[in-house]
């Protein structure tokens, strides 16, 4: 009992010494955060003021410099404050229990020392365990899982955009309407002709002919692309006679088919919605209108081993030979 009273009074003393300096450090932290906030908002706004007015560049730079100086000052103040926080004067004295008590009885000095050092290590271990628990709940909350429901999925900072539900199209008329929305890309119909053939159920064949260059046949389920095959301009001109089982007889088109399949994977694994990735694919496909006259962006040549630049970058849509493409 006397022990407990002693420990209590010690703790009280310690806290009395600690609390004022902790409060002061916290104030310093707040100051630092405030100055950092104001600096970053200044940086994100740039030279443009909220009311649309523009400030002089030199003036802007001097403002930023001033804020940076304040930030550094606040940071230094915090640092000195933290260094002044009193160290724990009283090492925790915990009576060794159980096997540790036995160690205290040991004759060797090493065992005695270990027994005395053990309690603080034990504390640290517990702190680690607590920290790990908190960390685990955070990582679990932010991890992506197919089965997680929306209330579990609430992200901490709203960083991830959720995929909206898949569009279900159940009639040819609905599809036509949806397709016209999908094709809402500036000038796309000047370069591409689109034909639709109804297949079974919700599967459709979309034949897109890119201006004087190639035909691309796409199998769609709803608006999700299932398969892509690229053929020459005069191969399978009629949409009812398209042979989807065989590749083009032209080597160039076979290569482009492979690239188109890769682009599908690229766009569908990005964070885009089905509609957006479909549109991106169409824009990528449109870039093939220059297949026969665009030079490779890397080697500045037309032909490499008899092939024109058959690769189009997925982001910039620029032409490259397959061997010259950028990573």
């Amino acid at each position: 009992m006397a022990n407990i009273v002693q420990a209590h009074s010690r703790l009280k003393l310690e806290l009395e010494e600690l609390v004022p300096s902790l409060v002061e450090s916290l104030q310093k932290v707040q100051l630092l955060r405030h100055s950092a906030d104001s600096l970053f908002s200044n940086l994100s706004e740039g030279c443009l003021l909220k009311d649309g007015e523009e400030i002089d560049k030199d003036k802007y730079i001097s403002i930023v410099q001033e804020k940076l100086q304040i930030l550094v000052q606040n940071f230094n103040a915090l640092q000195t404050k933290i260094q002044k926080i009193p160290k724990n004067r009283f090492p925790p004295i915990v009576q060794p229990l159980g096997p540790l008590g036995m160690m205290m009885l040991d004759q060797s000095e090493a065992a005695k020392k270990a027994a005395l050092e053990y309690p603080p290590v034990f504390h640290q271990f517990n702190a680690f365990k607590d920290f790990h628990k908190i960390l685990e709940t955070y990582t679990y909350r932010n991890s992506r899982k197919r089965s997680t429901t929306s209330h579990q999925m609430q992200p901490a900072g709203g960083m991830r955009r959720k995929r909206p539900p898949r569009v279900i199209i159940d009639s040819p008329a609905a599809f036509k309407q949806h397709l016209s929305q999908l094709l809402h890309i500036p000038n796309i119909l000047g370069d591409m002709k689109v034909q639709v053939r109804e297949m079974f159920g919700n599967t459709r064949l979309l034949s897109i002919s890119v201006r004087r260059t190639l035909n691309c046949h796409i199998i769609l389920r709803h608006i999700q692309i299932e398969r892509v095959i690229v053929k020459g301009l005069l191969e399978d001109e009629n949409i009812d006679e398209v042979d989807l089982s065989e590749n083009s007889s032209l080597d160039t088109m076979t290569r482009i088919t492979e690239h188109a399949q890769a682009s599908l994977i690229f766009y569908s694994f990005s964070s885009l919605t089905d509609e957006e990735s479909f549109r991106k694919f169409l824009q990528w496909l449109r870039s093939y209108k220059t297949l026969f006259h665009a030079k490779c962006m890397r080697c500045k040549r037309h032909l490499v081993e008899g092939y024109p630049p058959t690769w189009r970058d997925f982001v910039t849509f620029q032409p490259y030979h397959f061997g010259c493409r950028s990573y």
């Binding site: 004087r212 301009l233 160039t252 026969f292 006259h293 081993e305 092939y307």
Partner: protein, 219 residues
């Protein structure tokens, strides 16, 4: 048949046709192209017995299209490009029409064909009545049907094979977004044959002066 362009090889002083072909084979091999069999073209010039009502014409048979005969009326206006494609029995029909159309001259082209990705390259020697006339290189690019679009490819490959600068525009008969048709290939050969006919023998159908000039600038 994709866009096909026929170039004529200018013999260097003292070079025989055979040597020219050998040089060409070397250059074509350097591009990475591989040999794929032989090719054979045969062209006949038929002269109309009554030039007031009927026209002279050329026929062209090729090993690439064994059951087809291309026939091209020898029109003075080049852009008209009046070419017809017939089945091979056309030949026997022409034999029956001997009285109206007389076969005057036969041209043959033989050579080895090369494949480079989607290109076909056919260098060959043109012969007429047993003697070598000239060397031609035909380049076909199968995926494209518009010479305006794919001309840079021809220009790059052609200038390497021919070892000289190629015009930066396609031949006038393919220009202005015209879709390629086999008649354009026949016409290019006919132009080369008739050029030979005017320069080498005093042939019946002399080419108009401006036409020769146009042709020369074209190449």
């Amino acid at each position: 048949m994709g866009v096909t362009v026929v170039f004529q090889w200018e013999l260097v002083d003292g070079q025989t046709h055979q040597q020219a072909i050998q040089e060409l084979h070397g250059r074509i091999n350097n591009t990475g192209a591989v040999q794929e069999g032989k090719f054979y073209y045969e062209s006949k010039f038929y002269q109309a017995s009554d030039s007031a009502t009927t026209r002279d014409f050329y026929t062209l048979k090729t090993s690439e299209y064994p059951v087809t005969v291309f026939a091209r009326v020898d029109d003075s206006t080049k852009d008209k490009n009046s070419c017809i494609q017939c089945d091979s029995p056309m030949e026997s029909l022409l034999v029956k029409l001997r009285e109206f159309f007389t076969p005057k001259r036969t041209f043959e082209i033989r050579g080895t064909r090369f494949k480079l990705a989607d290109f076909w390259i056919r260098p060959g020697i043109v012969t007429s009545s047993g003697s070598n006339k000239c060397v031609t290189i035909e380049i076909e690019y199968t995926p494209s049907y518009f010479a305006d679009d794919c001309w840079p490819l021809f220009s790059e490959l052609g200038s390497y094979i021919l070892n000289r600068q190629i015009d930066d525009k396609p031949p006038t008969l393919m220009e202005n977004n015209k879709q390629f048709n086999p008649g354009m290939m026949v016409q290019q050969y006919v132009e080369i044959f008739s050029r030979k006919a005017t320069t080498q023998a005093n042939f019946q159908q002399p080419m108009k002066q401006e036409q020769i000039q146009a042709y020369n600038t074209q190449m």
